[in-house]
């Protein structure tokens, strides 16, 4: 890094008994409740499954995870930290410090996976690949440049796109393995990361929208155009990166649908309309089910005759969840 991240010049003692934006408190609590560490996941149960992957599949998996490590490292050491000087409330600052720390936990988790499953030489090779892959480095550089720019709203856009879009070319693979009953413990760990990133993207996107409300119509248009342009630039690069990784195993087209689907969600987190039509966001149902067991079409009462609907009994509800 050539430039320093700006620091706050003035700080006041944070009073959690006066909270101007209740969303700060709500998200803080949610993040704290979601807290986890990789040591809690029995990754060693995946050793046997790992050994059943072909050398090519193993190499792909390691490359994907080093790519994800790089993004989490950026978000932990630069991204979330760069949002602190723009925070409107001290509680928002505190939430960013939580996000930054959790990104460092995510980055470290991949090393836990590596040390459980791979040899030192394999790990070093994979990290070398991540340093040398042009498209991975390019996506890191695009984002880093915006974090060092001087526009707070643009920083939030870049950050939300990282949290809600750029991770997903990588997240696809553990969901794919899991749908085939492979590396299922690793997938459990990745699901925890996916859950965290959803809260991060939601929160940064929310703060972006609050900031945007205060701007002129002209400036709002500028930011909107910028957002779609940046997404498109990142998307084109992401497609190349996807081909670099997945062509060998023939999954690129499937991954691209997952990219479109998540690009739409990233835009929605920023309060913008989805960009990709449903004809290209039809994610493989096995991947969707691996992400969430409730996401399949059988749960759509409207699209069927309705006769197939059975009132669920499987839901465990806590009494305290809802008492009449």
């Amino acid at each position: 890094m050539t430039e320093k991240v700006a620091l706050l010049s003035h700080v006041e003692a944070i009073n959690w008994n006066r909270i101007p934006d209740e969303k700060d408190n709500e998200v803080w609590n949610r993040l704290v409740n979601n807290f986890w560490l990789p040591e809690k996941i029995p990754l060693s149960n995946d050793v046997q499954s790992w050994n059943q992957l072909t050398p090519e599949e193993q190499e792909l998996t390691m490359r994907v995870f080093t790519g994800l490590t790089l993004l989490d490292t950026i978000q932990g050491t630069v991204g979330a930290v760069s949002l602190i000087p723009d925070a409107v409330t001290p509680h928002e600052e505190a939430v960013y410090t939580n996000i930054a720390f959790m990104e460092s936990v995510h980055a470290k988790s991949y090393s836990s996976i590596f040390s459980t499953l791979c040899s030192t030489k394999e790990i070093d090779d994979a990290f070398r690949w991540s340093q040398e892959n042009e498209n991975l480095q390019r996506k890191a550089q695009i984002i880093l440049d915006y974090y060092q720019g001087d526009d707070p709203l643009k920083r939030k856009v870049a950050s939300t796109l990282l949290e809600s879009f750029l991770f997903y070319s990588g997240f696809y693979l553990p969901m794919y393995w899991s749908s085939r009953a492979k590396l299922t413990n690793t997938a459990d760990l990745i699901r925890l990361i996916i859950r965290d990133e959803a809260v991060h993207g939601y929160y940064i996107g929310y703060k972006f929208q609050r900031g945007l409300e205060k701007e002129t119509e002209e400036r709002r248009q500028e930011i909107k155009d910028y957002t779609y342009e940046l997404l498109y630039e990142l998307y084109e690069n992401e497609v190349q990166y996807t081909h670099d990784l997945y062509d060998g195993v023939g999954l690129s087209e499937d991954v691209k649908k997952f990219l479109h689907y998540n690009a739409n969600k990233a835009l929605m987190n920023l309060g913008y309309e989805a960009m990709f039509p449903s004809s290209v966001t039809d994610v493989n149902p096995a991947i969707l089910a691996s992400l969430s067991p409730n996401a399949d079409e059988n749960h759509d009462f409207f699209s069927g005759s309705g006769s197939s609907y059975v009132i669920g009994k499987a839901v465990n509800t806590e009494d305290e969840d809802w008492d009449f």
Partner: protein
């Protein structure tokens, strides 16, 4: 039958909104200050009653059968999935008696708790969980819910004859 008009509870609308404590709408929803579900309702263009944002406020009273749209914020093991404001609304027996279906909003990133509030309400109130959508919904979600609700109310009327 869905009627496309400006919804009440929209702070930017003027004049004619009904009293905040009572609604004749056949669609009722909750949306936090982040406004994802509110945006979905705006896109839908159907008259809808909004459950007050603050639990301290008096809750809404439904006047006719309705479908509830409720978001789920990711929690661990689904504890506290149903927003407090929605619990307060459904704790009124008159409101529970008029619910006919629920639509869940959420994010598949939350895995097993995706749209869980909708599941909890469907189970407790013995009504179908009609549809799930993510965040503020895609244009496809909007048209499917619009058409789905129309068909749903038609079927409800027919089954009453």
């Amino acid at each position: 039958m869905p009627i496309p008009v400006m919804m009440e509870g929209d702070s930017t609308s003027t004049g004619v909104a009904a009293q905040p404590d009572s609604t004749c709408a056949s669609l009722i929803y909750f949306s936090s200050v982040s406004g994802n579900t509110h945006r979905f309702i705006e896109k839908l263009g159907i008259e809808a009653g909004r459950i007050p944002l603050r639990t301290k406020e008096e809750t809404l009273q439904a006047q006719r059968p309705y479908v509830l749209i409720v978001p789920t914020y990711g929690g661990v093991s689904g504890k506290g999935a149903v927003p407090k404001q929605v619990i307060k609304f459904l704790n009124r027996e008159e409101n529970r008696n008029l619910i006919r279906g629920v639509i869940g909003a959420g994010n598949t990133n939350f895995g097993e708790t995706y749209c869980l509030a909708g599941d909890v309400i469907a189970t407790k109130c013995q009504v179908p969980h009609l549809y799930r959508f993510e965040l503020m919904g895609t244009p496809d979600d909007v048209s499917r819910v619009y058409e789905g609700l129309e068909e749903f109310w038609t079927r409800q009327l027919q089954s009453r004859k």
